[in-house]
């Protein structure tokens, strides 16, 4: 069964450093999402992406964040200058056209900012 994959599974970085989190969505999916979940807190929507542009973004998704689909398979989230409060689990999700309400989530990348 196809699945969303994310790398790395755990990323440790120093405050102020740039990080890139990578996702490989399910191959025929066209809609992509990033969410985050701070430990012990609720899942928060960050951004949705379709047709090479951002469809919607939340208040969390400020100028420090950016997303890109650099090739036909990868979908990335970049944080330019990490802060301590960016420490969280980051989930990528994708969905297709046939079942538009079914988002498939990846296993997540745990980001730890020191």
């Amino acid at each position: 069964e196809p699945e969303v994959t994310q790398t790395p599974s755990h990323q440790v970085t120093q405050m102020g450093q740039e990080v890139i989190l990578r996702c490989v969505p399910i191959s025929n999916h066209l809609y992509f999402y990033w969410y985050r979940q701070i430990l012990g807190q609720k899942v928060e929507f960050l951004v949705s992406f379709y047709n090479n542009e951002i469809s919607e973004k939340s208040e969390i998704f400020d100028d420090q964040f950016s997303v890109e689909r650099p090739d036909g398979s990868n979908f990335t989230l970049k944080i330019r200058s990490t802060k301590l409060e960016d420490s969280a689990m980051y989930f990528c999700a994708s969905r297709g056209v046939r079942y538009p309400d079914t988002q498939y989530f990846g296993p997540g990348t745990r980001l730890t900012v020191l």
């Binding site: 899942v43 929507f45 469809s55 919607e56 989930f91 309400d101 079914t102 989530f105 997540g108």
Partner: protein
């Protein structure tokens, strides 16, 4: 303000003991209510989408229902493998014809053998 509230925060059931989880929501212009299951250290797993009051969906031991203010996830004769956190989320209108997603904090379900 759009929000989603889930109750209870945690629930312990004996195997076979049926119960319901609640998701109360406030959103201007609901465009779907979603239920997910999340196991520790993993991403959410999609269960159901409901769109309009009165709608019901079933999958194995789970049944989701929707009213204009809340949704219930009914678990019939649960098994230990149903132990997980169950998340509710709503989709509402964003800006310029887009959507936003608002999650609740989840209900941690533990089913004892």
């Amino acid at each position: 303000e759009d929000q989603v509230t889930q109750s209870p925060e945690a629930l312990r059931l004996q195997e076979g003991e049926s119960s319901s989880l609640n998701c109360s929501y406030t959103v201007s212009g609901l465009r779907g209510l979603f239920w997910y299951r999340q196991d520790p250290g993993k991403g959410p797993e999609f269960l159901f989408t409901l769109y309009s009051a009165g709608e019901e969906k079933e999958k194995e031991r789970l049944k989701a229902t929707l009213t204009k203010k809340e949704s219930f996830l009914h678990i019939t004769a649960p098994k230990p493998e149903d132990s997980a956190t169950y998340l509710c989320a709503v989709r509402g209108p964003g800006t310029s014809g887009t959507y936003k997603y608002i999650f609740g904090t989840g209900t941690r379900l533990k089913v004892l053998a």
